[in-house]
Symmetry: C2
Subunit: 203 residues, 2 copies
């Protein structure tokens, strides 16, 4: 599996994936049509199928490409940094990613919601490995008294749930608040995680 060679191939490849992301995020895999993707990409349906053999191939290409980016904020959590600051920085990076890439967040959410038919392997493999790795780091911080005792795995679930919620459930948030409130979200999450993980002061 090689990357596209010619300049025009690279361009159209990217163009199609961009369009597919748009449509998949909005309509879901089943709801998206190749025609919609083609129209969004500004080309004919057969031409889209010339670059990607099937609709599923586009979906998989997006998910594969996405997973890496998606995990970056967690990868960047540094075992050598200040524990509380590292976790808070992770939360902020993740929230920023949700704000900047809501389509990716929804694409991911839709895939998981449907039982992760195209990602189960990656979840049980790369994701699990990374998470276990970082959980060990967190457990180390806790053992050293640098972090309040929490379940490292559930802490990470909390970060995912809380940050992605603002992208995936954006419609609901806006319906309730009357509009977006990313600043409020960041303040709230910073506050929440600070209280959550700051170890009790040595009495």
């Amino acid at each position: 599996m090689q990357q596209p060679q010619t300049r025009i191939q690279r361009k159209n490849h990217a163009l199609i994936l961009e369009a597919a992301l748009d449509v998949f995020a909005r309509e879901g895999f089943r709801g998206a049509t190749v025609d919609q993707i083609a129209k969004t990409a500004g080309m004919s349906k057969p031409n889209v199928l010339y670059y990607f053999p099937t609709k599923e191939a586009m979906h998989e290409a997006l998910l594969t490409q996405l997973l890496e980016t998606w995990l970056d904020p967690l990868v960047a959590m540094d075992a050598g940094g200040d524990p509380v600051e590292e976790v808070l920085a992770y939360v902020r990076r993740k929230l920023e990613m949700a704000r900047q890439h809501p389509r990716e967040s929804r694409l991911f959410a839709g895939e998981i919601l449907r039982g992760a038919p195209h990602m189960l392997g990656a979840l049980k493999g790369d994701l699990r490995t990374l998470v276990d790795d970082k959980a060990a780091v967190i457990d180390g911080w806790i053992a050293a008294g640098k972090l309040a005792p929490v379940s490292a795995h559930h802490l990470m679930f909390s970060v995912w749930a809380l940050t992605q919620h603002y992208a995936d459930f954006d419609v609901q948030v806006q319906a309730v608040l009357g509009g977006p409130d990313w600043a409020g979200a960041e303040a709230h999450l910073s506050d929440l995680f600070t209280r959550m993980i700051t170890p009790a002061s040595n009495s």
Copy 2:
């Protein structure tokens, strides 16, 4: 719009909605087919369409019915009770609901993810009203010093995000942990919200 009259109508109505919930939760609205619903309900497609004029009608019936149940845990939060206990009890009720009714949670998530085409009115109406109402209660508790100062709205978003995550992203949770861990989830969330909302002790 009346409820079904005869005994057989009531039975089949319920049977179809049960089947539709199953299929919609698993496949999403676009992915679900009337045939699947019919087969799950143990009857023919035309018979399903005899009770519900369209696929959309089933979806709407489910969502309408769901919204009420869904908000119950929040409705039950009592302004007269102990603030910290009330919030924690709300979290536990919501988590329990996610555990007992994952299909409903996924149905709801799918609807919101797609922009809430069938629920936007309810979100901006009933939901917003209820949330604003309860936010006022929470703000009252905070003003009285019974609760740590938090954004009431974002606090509720946090409850939703964290509890529903365990139902909606169940596949991911299980892929990472190797299996379900509702007990761990409850302990974690109890801990998290306790630290979040317990007011600083009077020094």
